[in-house]
C-alpha cells in the first residue's frame, strides 16, 4: 500500500472527526423527489426529442421504416458522401449503391484513425435518445461500434428508432446501468461539436463531427 494512500485516508478520517462514528453513508438522506419517470404520452416525447435535437443546429427527419434506405441515400447524396464508415451491425440494405462502405474489423483489421479521418462520414445507430435534452446516447452496442468511429469522421448520420427515445435523463441513466456494469464506454451526444471560445460566438466543430444528422424511424 502506498504511503500517500495511507496518509490521505488518515487525513480524511481526521478531517471528518465531527461525523459520528456510527453514521453510515445511507444515514445522510438523499431525497429523490425529482422526476424519474415520464408521464407524457410517447408521441409527445418523440416530438420533443425532434424539436430539441434540431435546436442544436443538427438536422432531424422523421421517417417510416420502409422509407429509411431512401432517406439515408438522400442525406448522403446531399452531403456528397462517397466513402462511408459503417458501424458494425448496420444492415447492408441501408447502404446506397455507389457508396463505398468502410467496415471496422473487416478482414480482421480495424480501420486506422487516418482512415476514419479521411472518410466522408459515418453511419450508425444508437443506444437511446433523451427527449428532455435532445441527446443521442452511444454505448458501443448494436450498430455503433467503438468510440472512434463516430468521433473522427466530420459527418455523423445517426438512426434512432422511436421506441429508443425516453423523456428524462434518469430514465436513460437507468437503461444504461447494465452496460455500465459490464464496463461499456458511453458517450452522450447533444448536437454537433461546438465552441463559443472566441468572443462567445458559437462555432460548430473544433474537434468532433461538424454535422450531425438524425433520422428518427418508426418501426
Amino acid at each position: 500500500m502506498s504511503q500517500a494512500r495511507e496518509e490521505i485516508l488518515r487525513r480524511i478520517r481526521l478531517a471528518t472527526r465531527d461525523v459520528p462514528q456510527e453514521e453510515s453513508p445511507e444515514d445522510v438522506s438523499v431525497e429523490r423527489s425529482y422526476r424519474v419517470e415520464s408521464v407524457s404520452p410517447h408521441e409527445e416525447v418523440v416530438g420533443r426529442f425532434v424539436e430539441n435535437v434540431s435546436e442544436y443546429r443538427a438536422s432531424v427527419r422523421r421517417v417510416g421504416e420502409e422509407e429509411l434506405p431512401e432517406a439515408i441515400r438522400e442525406a448522403l447524396a446531399r452531403r456528397g458522401a462517397r466513402r462511408l464508415v459503417v458501424a458494425p451491425g448496420v444492415p447492408d440494405g441501408w447502404i446506397p449503391e455507389g457508396v463505398e462502405a468502410l467496415r471496422d474489423g473487416e478482414g480482421g483489421r480495424p480501420l486506422t484513425s487516418e482512415e476514419l479521418d479521411a472518410s466522408d462520414g459515418v453511419l450508425s445507430g444508437c443506444a437511446l435518445g433523451i427527449a428532455q435534452s435532445g441527446t443521442v446516447v452511444l454505448d458501443g452496442g448494436r450498430m455503433q461500434g467503438r468510440r472512434a468511429l463516430t468521433l473522427l469522421p466530420d459527418y455523423h448520420l445517426c438512426v434512432i428508432y422511436e421506441d429508443q427515445i425516453v423523456e428524462l435523463v434518469p430514465e436513460a441513466v437507468r437503461r444504461l446501468e447494465g452496460g455500465v456494469r459490464e464496463g461499456r464506454s458511453i458517450v452522450f451526444v447533444s448536437g454537433p461539436s461546438a465552441t463559443s471560445d472566441i468572443e462567445l460566438d458559437r462555432v460548430e466543430g473544433v474537434h468532433g463531427p461538424r454535422t450531425l444528422e438524425v433520422l428518427v424511424c418508426r418501426r
Partner: protein
Amino acid sequence: MKVSERPFQALAREALADSQLRRNLGHATATIRKKRAAAVSELPDWEELREAGAAIKERTLRHLDEYLVRLEESVTKAGGEVHWARDAREANRIVAGIAKGHGAREVVKVKSIATDEIRLNDHLEKEGIEAVETDLAELIIQLAGEESSHILVPAIHKNRAEIRELFREKLGAKDLSDDPRDLTETARRYLRERFLAAKVGISGANFAVAETGTICVVESEGNGRMCTTLPEVLVTVMGIEKVVPTWRDLEVFMQLLPRSSTAERMNPYTSFWSGTSSGEGPREFHLVLLDNGRTQALSDPKGRQALRCIRCSACLNVCPVYERVGGHSYGSVYPGPIGAILTPQLTGLGRKGPDSLPYASSLCGACYEVCPVKINIPEVLIHLRGRVVRNRQDSGSPAAKLDPEGAAMRTLARTFADRRLYEAAQKLARAGQWPLARGGRIRRLPGPLSGWTAVRDLEAVPRKTFREWWRRERG
C-alpha cells in the same frame, strides 16, 4: 497550490483599468446569465434536483474515505491503475513518470482545472515533455503564454483580432481572417495532427463513480472524446472530492451541470468509461487521486461545503464583483465566489493573498441562489472572514492588537462569527448608508473596507438582504 501573494484588492485595481476585459466580461456574463435562467426554468423539478445534488455531495464528503477506497477497487477491477497524490509535486511526478515510461515527448491534454492547479504543464516541460492543450480556449491561452480567467470561457479576455495575430505568429497561419469560423478551422487542423500522433492523453474528471469505477468528462468541443479515446495511454487527474457514490447519482448531475454551466439542456459531449474494460480506446488507464489541500478544506465542517462544487461557474456569472474585476484578480485557478471560499481553504490562511479573498464579495447572495449544489457561499465567506481575523489576532504582536485597524477587526471578528450580530450590522449599514451612497452606489466605505471601495463602486447594500429574503420566502 500556487496562489498570488498580493491581495485581491491590489489585483482588482489593475483589472479595473482594463476596459477591454470589462467589456468582454460584462457581455459574457450577461449573456450566460440570461440563458441560464431560461434553461433552468424549463425543469419543474429544479429545486428537487439541487436538493438531491447537495445531499449526494454531502453524503460523499462525510464518508469520503469509504468512497475513495471503493472507487480504487472498482477502477482496479476494470483494468485501471489508481495512484494517490498528497500534493502537486507528487501528482506531477506520477504523471510525468507514466509519460516517460512510454517514451512520450508530447502529450495531448483536455482542459482541466485540477491539472492547472498543480501546474502540470510547467512540470512536464521541465521534464522535456510538451503538453498540448486541445481545448480551443486553452490553446489560445497557452500560445499567448497566459493564464485562464474564467472556468468556462478561459480566453474571454481575448478578442478575435488578438487571436488571429496569435495564430499567425505561433501556428504559421498566414492567410487568416479574424472570422471565428476561420480561426476555429485553423485550430482544428493543427490539433487533429497532434491527436493522431499522440501516445498519451491527459484529462481531468467531472465525476467518478465509486460503485462502478466510471469516470465522466463533460465537454463541448470533442477534444475530451479525442483525448480519452485515441491515445494508447490515458491518465486522469482528479481531486478526491469528485467521487460520487453510485451510477444513478449521475442522473442528478447530468441535469444540474449543463444548465448551470453553459445554460444548455445538455453539453455537446459527455464521455463515460471504466478502466480499460470496454476492450477499445486506451489500453492503459491511470487515475491520479489528488489531495493538495482538499483534506484541509474538509476539516472545517462549515467550510467543507465548498468541496461540493461541480465547477459549473454559475456563481461567477452572477457575481457583481467578478463581473467587473475578472478572474485574474482572485490570484488563483479558482476565480469568482467559489474561488473566494475554496482557494483560502486549499492553501490555508495567514498570507496576504488568501486572507484577502473572503473580502472579495459584496455578500449579495446571488451566488448561493444559483449554485446547483446549494453551497452557501455567503455563509462560508463570513465564516472565513472570522477565521482570518481571529488568526491575525492570535499571531499578532501587542502593537498589532492596539492599532485601530486591529480594534476594528476585533469587532468585525465578533460580528462575522455571529450571524445575528452580522445581520444587525447589515441593517445598520443600510440605514446609515445614505451619506455614502450616491445613486444607488457606495463610493467610499469607512475603515478597513475603504481599500475595496477605493478601487470600485460598491453596490449599495440592498434594501432587503438575501438572508432576510430567503428566510421570508423559504424559512
